[in-house]
């Protein structure tokens, strides 16, 4: 049996999905968090049903891609669970009426029941069941309230006998339903609502934005650095180092296996940053240098997402984004890209046109370094002084702006206007927040860490067979002459296709000057996204657009690297 979870964007379908299947998917407080279908299994007595989390739609009129796909999915489903935001009944009912007219067994989940109560909204569930002709179950999915009842009552799901295709204006029907089942009592504005109004006001909005962004930046840096300096580094140096030195001695301090596993000894001992062995630098880079930042970034992002701040940033940035051929909502892929470019490239689906998707993904892939890369850039560049770190990020920001202006002027078409639902602020739920953080950390550990190990292996092997030397000679005109980097930097550019964090780690043993470190980090960010990101781009944009994007990336890298080398 196939069960579909359907509903408006941002009503909590993904949370209901996680509760029902035990499969965790990322849920946040903004419309469009789910852009891909998630599938899971649901045990119903002795049977197992397939549950599909369908990306949210406001209606079934096939006016956009997401809606067309949803209609197709409904044809294949056996049972529909329609999730409704209880605090927003009127608007949600439009989709509900359309779903009921499809004449499939349906059950309605009145989610965020607690939120509705806080807002003084009372809904007569019995009356609603009567009018819609299907079962209605109130839930608070984040805490799990009502989920058991939902499972118990799934078998009651019915085809509505009261709602039929009758040509009556849906809004008059909705008005009738609302009039009978909903009662709103007056109440005073809560503090959260005052902050809501403030964060979109023309004067306080930008101030709050600046405060939030600088505070987030400081917190991410504080937690990231703190974990590195006081937890991970001491553990690595204190406990892991002696073990590795023993192995190094056992292997005779040199030779093929020693160099592969431990790497090169620097002044007689292991340097975790520079030795480049499978057991030394690989775990050091991914665990000690990068993971603390991944943790602190996703902790902060999770809070902002679940609180509901991201769509407000979209409103605030809308004006600027219009000059770059986009609208405010395109800031969401940019923010997500700071964590990892892969989900960011996927999230460009929230944009309407191909033109926007192309501009947004190209800008993101070129100018938004992921957190793993940022952590390594900090490790490489910060020791020369904060000013050099600022040069890297300022350059990336200026490239971002310039690229947007140029793409907007050269690609035919116009940017559509922003049209986005702004969710209410919600206080993040601690367990939901930690689950999401853990999921993202697990994603990093399972997907990124093996690639770093693989990368170190590849580098060592390529060095051994002399392949890197050949490539270095070929790319010398650009790498050494134009960019002013040592010829060994070529190998780092090659590994950059695989993992950017490792690529920047490879610049460390080269003894770069401050200027070379700046040029190297900036170019590694710009010249190409990692393979995983590029694959998503191909899937989303198609071959032609992706390669056009790649051409832009490489040209921008050549130009920007040359300019930085000249003026610094």
């Amino acid at each position: 049996m196939k069960i579909l979870l359907l509903g408006n964007p941002n009503v909590g379908k993904s949370v209901v999905f996680s509760r029902l299947t035990g499969v965790h998917v990322v849920a946040s407080n903004y419309p469009g968090t789910t852009v891909e279908y998630a599938k899971g299994k649901l045990k119903l007595g002795r049977d197992t049903a397939e549950l599909i989390d369908v990306p949210g739609t406001y209606s079934l009129e096939a006016s956009c891609e997401a809606e067309e796909v949803a209609i197709k999915m409904i044809g294949e489903g056996d049972l529909i669970i329609n999730v409704i935001d209880a605090a927003n009944l009127e608007r949600n009912l439009l989709l509900t009426l359309q779903l009921l007219k499809m004449a499939k067994p349906t059950i309605i989940v009145l989610n965020m029941w607690d939120d509705a109560k806080h807002r003084g909204i009372n809904i007569d569930i019995k009356a609603l069941e009567e009018m819609l002709g299907v079962p209605v179950v109130p839930t608070v999915a984040v805490t799990g309230e009502g989920i058991k009842e939902l499972v118990d009552r799934l078998k009651e799901a019915a085809t509505s006998t009261t709602i039929k295709e009758d040509g009556v204006d849906p809004w008059s029907k909705i008005g009738e339903v609302i009039g009978r089942v909903q009662e709103v009592t007056h109440r005073h504005h809560t503090l959260l609502e005052r902050i809501e109004d403030g964060s979109i006001s023309p004067f306080f909005g930008p101030l709050i934005f600046l405060a939030v962004i600088s505070a987030s930046f400081l917190i991410v840096r504080f937690i990231g650095e703190g974990l590195i300096n006081y937890v991970f580094d001491p553990v690595f140096e204190g406990f892991y180092m002696p073990l590795m030195m023993k192995i190094s001695n056992l292997l005779g301090s040199s030779g093929f296996f020693h160099d592969l596993l431990i790497g090169e000894l620097i002044e007689g001992s292991i340097d975790f940053g520079e030795s480049f062995g499978l057991l030394t630098t690989a775990p050091y880079v991914s665990i000690t240098m990068v993971m603390p930042y991944i943790f602190s970034f996703y902790l902060m992002l999770g809070v902002l997402e679940d609180f509901g701040y991201l769509p407000r940033i979209a409103v605030l940035m809308d004006n600027i984004m219009h000059r770059l051929g986009l609208h405010g909502a395109a800031i969401i892929p940019m923010v997500l890209g700071l964590g990892c470019n892969v989900p960011a490239a996927l999230s460009t689906r929230i944009l309407e046109s191909k033109r926007e998707k192309f501009i947004a993904s190209t800008m993101m892939a070129i100018s938004v370094p992921c957190m793993a890369q940022i952590a390594m850039i900090i490790g490489l560049v910060a020791r020369f002084g904060l000013i050099y770190l600022m040069i890297v990020f300022l350059t990336l920001f200026l490239v971002w702006l310039a690229l947007g202006v140029i793409l907007n002027a050269t690609i035919k078409g116009e940017s559509p206007e922003i049209f986005l639902e702004i969710p209410h602020y919600r206080l993040p739920n601690l367990s939901a927040l930690s689950k999401k953080l853990w999921m993202r950390l697990k994603g990093y550990i399972l997907e990124a860490m093996p690639l770093v190990l693989f990368g170190v292996l590849i580098v060592n092997l390529l060095y051994l067979i002399g392949f890197i030397d050949i490539i270095s000679r070929m790319t010398r005109p650009v790498v050494t002459t134009l960019w002013g980097l040592p010829k060994e930097a070529t190998s780092s550019l090659m590994i950059g296709f695989l993992r950017k964090d490792l690529a920047i780690g490879m610049l460390r043993p080269l003894g770069l000057t401050a200027k070379q470190a700046v040029v190297g980090s900036t170019i590694l960010a710009i010249y190409f996204p990692c393979m995983a990101t590029f694959m998503v781009m191909i899937k989303e944009l198609g071959m032609e657009y992706s390669f056009r994007g790649a051409l832009i990336m490489i040209s921008v890298a050549v130009i920007v690297g040359g300019i930085l080398n000249l003026i610094l």
Binding site: L89, W171, I418, E421
Partner: protein, 76 residues
């Protein structure tokens, strides 16, 4: 009567007319902005930035161009 773009923040009113194409009309409707619905202007950005309106249950951000095409009868 004024357009949504001209309304002051905090003013309430009733939607009288929505200009623009069918597609735009339908999109607004799905989010609860249609002839007769009561709205409050919740916020806006400077320099012809987007406008945020509250309908009965939710807030919606829409571009200045769209806001100019929506005529509102302001309530006291």
């Amino acid at each position: 009567m004024k357009t949504l773009a001209e309304m002051k923040i905090g003013e309430k009113g009733r939607v009288i007319e929505i200009g623009g194409g069918d597609a735009a009309l339908r999109r607004l409707e799905t989010l609860g902005i249609r002839q007769g619905s009561r709205i409050t202007k919740a916020g806006s950005m400077l320099m012809k930035g987007p406008v945020v309106v509250k309908t009965d249950g939710c807030q919606i951000a829409l571009g200045h161009g769209m806001a100019k095409k929506i005529t509102i009868e302001v309530e006291e």
